[in-house]
Amino acid sequence: MISEKDPLVGQVLDLFVPELDVDPDELLPAAHAGAARLRAARRRRTAAVLAFAVLLLFAGAAFAAKKLDLLPFLHTSDRNTARFSVSPSHSYHGTAPLALTCPHAAAGAFVCHLTSPLASGKRRYELGMRTDKVPLLTRPSMLTSLTRAQANGADPAQVAHVRADLAGVSDDFIRALSVMTRIDTVGGGGGSAGPSGTERVPPPGVPAWVACRELTLATVQCRPLAALLGVPGGTPLYSLQPSSDWRTVTTPPQQPPQFERLLERLLGRQPTATESRFLVDLATVAVTAGGSSGPSKVKGTPIGVSNPRGAALLAPQSLGVPTRVRSATAQPLPNRPLPGGLSRSRGTRLYRVAFDLRRADGVDTVGRHTLYVYVTRSSKLAVWRVAWVATKP
């Protein structure tokens, strides 16, 4: 039981400290900043201890560790593009506000505030997409996927073919493939197009793309997305909206991710013939309609690919002539009805795919071309397939 308050004591204590008029927001920013500093200091200490332990225990494995360094593959010279790796073991389940104001946007972590999507001003970011959840690719998980695909109606002969090739690839290859599927690229976003051969870019040091996570009711913490390692699956990605201080620069040459080189680096050797064939097996999609000069509806085979970017990479095959894919860059869905009756959902993505046409097809000339590829996720088959191809976004 709780005793009643003593009126005299209450009166005395009201004299001691009268009631206060307090603005709760007054202390929060400094508290968050202080907490971020504390956490960063702990991470640095942890990293130092781990690094020391690794040096002690695995000094002989320095070469092997170097082979897994993804950073050189994540850097791009295009300020409007961000290449990053997704963690297969971490997921983000927080909310993703539609728009943010980030007055302190810069390198490193910074705090942003929720804002209205209709607001304007500098350092305003809009939600572009969420990172795909990347499954941990292992031999058993791939076999399970194949079994599931067959149960869902995939061609048994094709499944048997893939399963046979899977048996012929090494564990090293599957590990390398698992690493490669974690790499993703986003670009475009906040209206980066400029006059021909140029593009508009943010001021130096201000990231065009950021990955954010919920911090408080009204704030999120963001980091520049470019070359960010281990982004949790489901993390909301935001693109910077143009403002008066953006500059026009010459569009840098496209930098494809050089997956072949990464695969060789990860493997420490050239892939074997079986491994190369297995890659083709995975990427097999039959395309019923072709042509890059206009929109075309495309049907996928029962076996698609496990990630949307991989599906988009298959689109140039629809041309029916030899092509070499250079890059596939995720784009925000346009703010208008989607073509082909596609629905606007998490299962619909848009990619800008750059590729080289090696032989003229009667409409397009040899050289670099760009396609805008919509891919959709088949809930029945749990795979991504090409759904719509166009030459304009």
Partner: protein, 175 residues
């Protein structure tokens, strides 16, 4: 402040863990009480701000250490009380209650001085229990959690504090 998505609020009520969202929600609900109790402990508004900010900083940074056995608010109270005690320990002049804003000496100031002296003369645990009971309206269980003592101890402590304070002040304040 921007309008908040309802998912934030739903999320905070569902989870039994100290996320930044639940900590901030608990702080916003109790901000005035935290500041008032911290002012009473540290003896100044400035010290109280430092203490509450320090408590919040540590709560945000170490939210993973929250074990979920009590409420996030109780956990915050303990952090605020400890931070305020630390601030008071670092600052030699505080501890006798907030000072008057100006140098005028009227009857009210004299009364306040008497109150400050009477409250300052109480043992620390009695002072803290009184502040939490009267300024924050915490029940015995919450006070016990904030002070790290048993619930029965809170009851006895408050009884002693009431008696001591009443005896010390009955003549000076009431007459």
């Amino acid at each position: 402040m921007a309008e908040l998505p309802s998912s934030h609020l739903l999320g905070s009520s569902r989870r039994r863990e100290a996320t930044a969202v639940t900590i901030e929600a608990a702080y916003r609900t109790r901000a005035a009480d935290f500041l008032r109790v911290a002012t009473a402990i540290t003896g100044s508004r400035e010290g109280a701000r430092d203490a509450v900010q320090e408590a919040l900083t540590r709560a945000f940074a170490r939210r993973a250490t929250f074990r979920g056995s009590g409420t996030v608010e109780a956990w915050l109270w303990r952090a605020v009380v400890n931070a305020a005690r630390n601030v008071r320990a670092r600052s030699p002049q505080v501890g006798e209650g907030p000072q008057a804003d100006d140098a005028t000496h009227d009857a009210e100031d004299e009364q306040r001085a008497a109150v400050r002296a009477a409250v300052a003369a109480l043992p620390e645990r009695q002072r803290l229990a009184l502040f939490l009971r009267y300024y924050a309206d915490l029940d015995y269980a919450a006070i016990a959690a904030a002070l790290g003592v048993r619930r029965g101890t809170v009851s006895a402590t408050l009884n002693h504090a009431h008696a001591t304070l009443r005896a010390a002040l009955e003549e000076e304040v009431l007459t």
